[in-house]
């Protein structure tokens, strides 16, 4: 890296929207030739900062200097040198890849000769060449992002602003995006990559960590995680104990953070603290393994928030759950949409009290499988049993036994918390004393007492998530369906959420969760990898990882395993595809 020069300098930058302070006195520098990660949960101020740098907003106080020019007075001087890719890039879905590129070239006034050369470069660079004449609307999520990136790169920007480019993109495409952006940084471009995924930050050269509009930390990721040296451990635990162990560990005074990672509990110790005896966590005597700290560990220990342990007592009271056999049984589930087979003979079972994750890229068929299992979609072939009931025969009975929480926390936003609870308890047929008890239980267990009369729509994300989960549990379901439950939520909330889910599983509730998010998958007991409409692998997360241990990858992550599984599936499928 040749002496990096600052491409962007922020000085006491403040931006308010009404009474909300989106950015609060931010001072930082973004260097050329580097990838700078802009990290933080939804609503941290990432998009606002990108828009301010792009000159689309004016700061309320402080200043921004971009490539040596002031963003307010001198924007014309640098506007051509920045490439901005918003969260929803403005692709015209009814135009082809080529036409989209041409349109953006017109907007940038590129002449014919430059245009041809840039198109050829970018199309081969992004691997979109074979899809040149395909409609943008028919590209996969990952390819759309690559096309967006190609459009943003057309005019050879010196500063590239990317707003959550990897959101909703499968791991394989995500790696492609990183490769492209890494090459750009190598050519001296200053890249700003905003993300809500903390694990992505570790790949950046430097990072700016935001929460609630404030810059909490910045610097090189390695320095940030280096502070936790010798403070992170992995404790292997026997099957069925890790939720309990995680709760005990999280409450321990020497522990800053405890999370579930596959079959183990991951501990982050407080500064200067000693490792607690693994026996009190119910370990079987194996020595805790020291492990490399992650960015997320550092983030959580930086915040040092005492989280109240989740208590889920009083659900089911142990009754009504002892079904015999599997809680969820999918047999040869198949779904066709016209000529397109979205799900192809998927078979799997989930045991009672198990947390099962359906993992796969967007469009792989995991949502379709999920929707068939909770009765939102009829299978074309095959059958599904949920909580001992055949969905094809007695869907209404099955529905009384399942709870469902969608990605968007589907609540009635203009109704109060209590109205929402009243409504959902009513449609689940709860009445009289039971209804009152269940509502009281929900308000109590999910800490909703303070907001009970507030409009659900105006609540902070964490409250909405808790309310949505509370509504899904009102009727004490045996099986809980969670659709991407923690997308966009900050790591602390995610921890609290999964603690509750763990406690629920310990009570015997079966949980089926979809995700395209590797962090979330670590919390699952078992995973099913869905790809191209098929279930290409099932197993415990550590089993899946272990399959891909090699000299090159001594400790593969779940993402490594996922990408390897998909690649080997593609390699097998290809000869068959050519033959037909």
């Amino acid at each position: 890296m040749a002496s990096p020069a600052p491409a962007v300098v922020l000085e006491g930058l403040t931006k308010r929207f009404g009474t909300v302070t989106a950015l609060d006195r931010v001072t930082a520098a973004i260097l050329a030739g580097q990838i700078t990660g802009l990290v933080g949960p939804d609503g941290a101020g990432k998009t606002t900062l990108l828009r301010l740098i792009a000159g689309l907003l004016k700061p309320d106080a402080g200043s921004i200097s971009v490539l040596g020019h002031d963003s307010v007075t001198d924007i014309g001087a640098y506007q051509r040198d920045i490439g901005y890719m918003p969260q929803r890039f403005g692709l015209y879905e009814d135009l082809t890849v080529d036409e989209n590129l041409n349109l953006h070239a017109d907007l940038h006034d590129l002449d014919e000769a430059t245009r041809e050369k840039r198109f050829a470069d970018l199309l081969s660079f992004t691997g979109l060449l074979p899809f040149k004449s395909r409609l943008a609307g028919q590209l996969s999520g990952g390819m759309k992002q690559k096309l967006g990136l190609a459009c943003a790169l057309l005019a050879r920007p010196r500063l590239l602003l990317l707003d959550e480019p990897s959101a909703g993109v499968d791991p394989a495409s995500r790696r492609e995006l990183w490769r492209i952006v890494r090459t750009m940084a190598g050519e001296g471009v200053a890249v700003v990559w905003s993300t809500a995924y903390l694990d992505e930050t570790e790949r950046c050269d430097s990072f700016l960590l935001f929460d609630g509009g404030r810059l909490l930390a910045s610097g090189a990721p390695a320095d940030f995680t280096g502070r936790l040296k010798d403070r992170t451990f992995l404790i292997d635990l026997p099957e069925g104990q890790r939720h309990e162990a995680q709760r005990v560990a999280a409450a321990h005074p020497d522990v800053a953070d405890a999370t579930i990672q596959s079959g183990s509990v991951r501990l982050v110790l407080k500064e200067g603290a000693m490792l607690p005896d693994p026996k009190i966590l119910g370990g079987d005597g194996t020595v805790p393994r020291p492990i490399r700290p992650r960015f997320e560990d550092a983030f959580v220990s930086l915040l040092q928030v005492e989280t109240k342990p989740a208590v889920m007592d009083g659900l089911h009271n142990g009754a009504g759950l002892e079904g015999n056999g599997a809680a969820i049984e999918a047999h040869e589930l198949t779904r066709d949409f016209g000529k397109f087979r979205a799900v192809d003979h998927v078979t799997f079972t989930v045991a009672p009290g198990e947390i099962f994750g359906l993992l796969g890229p967007n469009g792989a068929g995991k949502s379709t499988t999920f929707r068939m299992l909770c009765g939102l979609l009829e299978p074309s072939h095959g059958s599904a049993h949920v909580a001992g009931v055949d969905l094809g025969r007695a869907r209404a009975t099955a529905r009384e036994r399942i709870g469902y929480m969608s990605q968007r926390f589907s609540l009635y936003g203009n109704l109060s918390v209590r109205d929402n609870l009243d409504f959902f308890s009513g449609v689940y047929g709860l009445a009289g004393a039971r209804r009152r008890d269940r509502i009281a239980w929900t308000i109590d267990s999910f800490d909703l007492g303070a907001v009970v009369d507030a409009e659900a729509g105006g609540l902070p994300l964490g409250f909405k998530q808790r309310l949505a989960l509370g509504c899904a549990l009102l009727h004490e379901p045996r099986v809980l369906f969670l659709d991407e439950p923690t997308s966009g939520v900050d790591p602390l909330m995610r921890r609290a959420f999964w603690q509750r889910i763990g406690a629920l599983a310990d009570l015997g509730v079966t949980i089926l969760v979809t995700s395209h998010f590797m962090d979330e998958a670590e919390y699952c007991d078992r995973l099913g990898i869905v790809y191209a409409g098929r279930m290409i692998a099932t197993g415990r997360p550590d089993e899946l990882k272990r399959r891909f241990v090699s000299v090159a990858m001594p400790e593969p992550t779940l993402e490594d395993a996922f990408v390897a599984l998909i690649e080997s599936h593609d390699a097998e499928a290809r000869p068959a595809g050519d033959a037909s």
Binding site: L376, L377, Q407, S410, N414, L415, D419, V427, Y428, G429
Partner: protein
Amino acid sequence: MWQRIRSLIIKEFLMLWKDRKSRFVLVAPPIIQLVLFAAAANFEVNNVSLGLWNEDATRPARDLVSRFEGSPTFRIAAAYDNPVAVEEDIAAQRVKAVLHIGQTFSADVAAGRPARIQLLLDGRRSNSALIIQNYAAAIVEGFNREYAPAGAAGAGLEIQTRAWFNPNFESRWFILPGLTVLLTIVATLMITALSMARERELGTFDQLLVTPLRPMEILAGKTIPALCIGFIEANVIAAIAVLVYGVPFVGDILLFDVGIVLFVLSAIGIGLVISSIAKTQQQAILGVFLLLSPSTVLSGFTTPIANMPQWCQLLTYVNPIRYMMELSRGVFLRDLTWALAWDLLWPMMVIAAVTLGYATWLFGRKLQ
């Protein structure tokens, strides 16, 4: 089951009540339109420049002419003695109409034979032509009463029946009963089409579908609140028309309300069909408006259905507004009997059954 539907209904009312926008949609546009239509949309025509082409100089003809002269509506602007000049002046819009009295007019009147006068109108302005025709008919009728022997066939122009019920040509009387119907359908369609699309947009629709609620219960939970609101809205607007604007209400209020229930049900069916097809609230609104403008035109609100070409008239038979419009005017302005109203009630029942049935089917099919 009833408890589940009850929860849905309570929620539906709460949502409407707590959402400032939907409250606004229900209250403000009807009032604004009521005031606007009552004040501005005036069908009355005054001071019409009338040409006179009189080929008969005797007393009955002169008397007829003086009746036109004496009316506040007409002003004799020109006299003609040949058809060429008449045509020229109408084409150039120098006169709005020409009254032609033939040579045999007085003789026919005296002999008690049907006498013919001709009213030449500027057909390019069909609406005002129609009104002018009505005014002229009223004058001719007065003339008939004096000259035609009792029991004999009337002289001159065919008399439009509408003048019987609105002898003063008060256009408000004519507009407001129709407007009541239109405002009711707008409110009902909006509520039903939007509420379903909104649930789909928010994702709460899936949430409903995974509860033990059956499709029929969800539809009932959507239908009943909309029915209540449509019913109340229609009655409030009717009351304003009567109490504030002095439109008479001579018919049976029960008949009006029975009609409104059937009418609102058919509107809810249409709204539910739209919302089953629309994916977003925007599409739902677009659907409502795409449907509303042609059905308003084909309802007889501004132009009589009898004046439409045959194929247009056929289209009006599937339009619930057509029936309710006629029923509303019937109970407001004349004492429409239940027997006569039956012909208007049963088509609305059929439309309601078909649209609600289709919506249920569509809804069930979407779940597959």
